[in-house]
């Protein structure tokens, strides 16, 4: 074989299926990011107030998820649950597992941000006689949110990239469609180019959004 074999025409033929896959990748990413951020706040609240048993569950969840491979978590959920009679579809399983995974990371981000807050902020709130719940929801969470945005966006980008793992259980996302095209047409490079453009495009857009959000949250803090 000599030279690199590349045909634009085959890429054009594959375009509709690739765009369909891209759409599913975006849908998966957005749903997982939304759920995981909410979950992150919930877990961080549990880790802050430490209600008797719940916080131990939350702490263990965060630790376990962060110390095991996502791919095995996905297999565990998708191929394991039928053993006890629950059969969610690949897409639903994928979104659930990835949200649980990303939620643990978001919780860790938030916990770090809350611990990084200056002590005097909380002391000032207490000395003003704020109820602990109000102190948490009106002071700690808003201020911590401002500092957590970069880390949170990083996790969101990882979440998006990790949706590619869902193709392993047959979710027809961008990765799945491209690899399927390669298997049926042998147009390797064209499909990898599509993957590169697709994922880099999403990641770059997210980086731009992150800068915008940081700028927006930084208003009133800049000299």
């Amino acid at each position: 074989m000599n030279g690199v074999d590349f045909e634009w025409a085959s890429l054009r033929d594959a375009l509709p299926s690739l765009l369909g896959g891209l759409k599913l990748t975006i849908v998966n990413s957005v749903s997982c990011i939304v759920v995981s951020v909410l979950l992150g706040y919930l877990l961080a609240t549990l880790l802050y107030f430490r209600p008797p048993i719940l916080w131990r569950i939350a702490a263990f969840w965060v630790k376990f998820i962060r110390n095991t491979p996502l791919l095995i978590q996905i297999y565990f959920f998708y191929f394991g649950l039928p053993e006890i009679g629950i059969r969610p579809s690949a897409s639903v399983s994928g979104i659930i597992v990835l949200s649980l995974w990303a939620g643990a990371y978001q919780a860790e981000n938030l916990r770090g941000a809350i611990e990084g807050l200056p002590r005097r902020l909380i002391e000032a709130g207490r000395s003003l006689g704020l109820h602990p719940l109000l102190l948490f929801s009106a002071i700690i969470v808003p201020v911590a949110t401002r500092t957590v945005v970069p880390a949170m966006m990083n996790t969101a980008v990882s979440t998006t990239k990790n949706t590619a793992l869902l193709s392993a259980i047959g979710v027809p996302d961008l990765t799945y469609v491209a690899m399927d095209n390669i298997a049926s047409t042998y147009r390797t490079l064209e499909n990898f180019l599509a993957l590169l453009v697709g994922y880099l495009g999403i990641v770059l857009v997210m980086a731009a959004v992150a800068r915008l959000v940081e700028w927006r949250l930084g208003r009133g803090y800049r000299a």
């Binding site: 791919l71 095995i72 006890i84 690899m179 994922y199």
Partner: protein, 225 residues
């Protein structure tokens, strides 16, 4: 739990764990070397070098790990490079670790106060020597927590090898499950994959403990001097 099935296949799992360990150690070692070199080069103030390194790093970091693995395994033959599944996994994990590690190293070197270099230079220490004896020892300490996180992720990523057919832990689990389905009926997915999760969890905890010890040692080294 299906402990009998796990015990029956203990040797098979051990061998698979060996493959996972080989992937982990090789790619970690190679990526440390790459990231030390690229990360240091990225702090040199020559625009072309910085731009080239930045481009490579962002390209690798911007694409999901599975896709770079698929590219190394399925895509490289188009350029006349054919890897075995094991080689492809190691190569792609090394690239990923090297790119992310280079960012970490660059950040660590930049975090060492600039006057350290200036003082070293004004004491007459040669540029490379001041990098080696003044800047890097301080950077290593700064970089350690982030780098440990990276190694943790590399360890998890060994499971991606299953997708190109390396018989590491995940693949061995799949094989055991298929065999059990064939011979006994019913899928033991929950116990086998649960077992693998526990194995990785324990391995991760062990590594974290080792990192904490290492950090403590490097920390005391600072205080003594």
């Amino acid at each position: 739990m299906n402990l009998g099935l796990i015990a029956e296949n203990a040797n098979f799992f051990l061998k698979a764990g060996g493959y996972a360990l080989v992937i982990f150690i090789t790619s970690t070692a190679a990526s440390i070397a790459i990231s030390a070199i690229l990360g240091t080069l990225a702090t040199v103030r020559i625009r072309v070098i910085q731009a080239v390194i930045r481009g490579m790093v962002e390209l690798i970091r911007g694409v999901p790990q599975v896709i770079s693995l698929f590219f190394v395994y399925f895509g490289a033959p188009a350029f006349g490079l054919q890897f075995t599944p094991l080689q492809a996994t190691i190569v792609s994990l090394t690239l990923w670790g090297g790119a992310n590690g280079a960012e970490v190293v660059r950040g660590g070197i930049n975090a060492v106060p600039r006057h350290q270099l200036e003082s070293a230079r004004s004491l007459g220490i040669a540029p490379l020597d001041s990098l080696r004896f003044v800047i890097l020892p301080q950077a290593v300490r700064l970089v350690l927590p982030a780098y440990a996180g990276l190694c943790n992720m590399l360890m998890h990523s060994t499971s991606l090898g299953a997708l190109v057919g390396v018989t590491e832990l995940l693949k061995s689990g799949q094989i055991v499950i298929e065999r059990a389905e064939y011979f006994h009926g019913g899928s033991p997915g929950l116990s086998i994959y649960g077992f693998l999760l526990v194995v990785y969890f324990l391995a991760g905890l062990t590594m974290n403990a080792a990192v904490v010890r290492l950090e403590r040692r490097l920390g005391t080294a600072t205080r003594r001097s």
